[in-house]
């Protein structure tokens, strides 16, 4: 099962986690990753974070990443929520829940999805500081993470 939501509204990570696979008893591991707006970045205090996205492509890319995850590991369900719009420190950005029989698939799958999301899903962040603003630049490390998976 695959669920992908791209939305402006907030979400409740704990409630989503508890609702996933509520009636299933055939899985042994359940993993949740939540990305949250930090209050500073590169020594700048962040007051707001704007997330822009390319709607049609964002959904297609997330779907592709998840399909690759299902092919690579025995993962039973993936549930993703990604927000866009104007957020503040402490706000939720992204939520990922996976279930699998063993712990390794779910933990590896979570890393795989987040690595690919960071380098192939069309979302962009702009940070607003007390004075000024700047688009976040992609980390070299994030591009490198993909190379490791491609090997």
């Amino acid at each position: 099962m695959l669920s992908i939501k791209i939305q402006e509204n907030d979400f409740d990570p704990g409630a989503i986690f508890n609702s996933v696979a509520y009636n299933r008893k055939d899985f042994g591991a359940k993993v949740l990753f939540t990305g949250v707006v930090k209050d500073f970045h590169n020594s700048n205090t962040i007051e707001k974070l704007f997330i822009e996205h390319y709607p049609t492509m964002a959904e297609k890319q997330l779907r592709k990443i998840c399909e690759n995850t299902f092919e690579r590991w025995e993962i039973m369900e993936i549930h993703i929520v990604h927000r866009y719009g104007l957020l503040e420190p402490g706000d939720n950005i992204v939520n990922l829940v996976l279930i699998s029989r063993g712990r390794e698939e779910a933990l590896e799958g979570a890393k795989f999805i987040m690595d690919y999301l960071k380098s192939e899903a069309p979302f962009w962040k702009k940070e607003y500081y007390g004075k000024g603003q700047a688009w976040v630049t992609q980390k070299i490390k994030d591009a490198k993470n993909i190379e490791v998976w491609e090997k």
Partner: protein
């Protein structure tokens, strides 16, 4: 052909999207054509290492890629979501 711009490419170009008619046959030719329009476009496309291209929602790494079948082309910097 619908062209979309995102993030600072959008800000530099000054618009979100536009419908254009072009004789450009490749991604590179289209970028050259857009860059020649005015300073906003030439600024947006001044560092091509920072420009990602998607044709009909699929990443295209090669600026020689044909756009003759394309319905929607998007230009944007490397992504930073998550």
């Amino acid at each position: 052909m619908q062209i979309y711009y995102f993030s600072w490419v959008r800000e530099r170009v000054g618009i979100n999207n536009e419908n254009i008619k072009t004789g450009a046959k490749t991604v590179g030719e289209l970028i050259a054509e857009l860059s020649s329009r005015n300073e906003n476009y030439s600024f947006a496309f001044s560092d091509l290492k920072q420009i990602k291209v998607a044709i009909d929602h699929v990443f295209v790494d090669d600026f020689n890629y044909s756009i003759e079948q394309a319905k929607e082309i998007a230009f944007f910097p490397p992504v930073t979501g998550g």
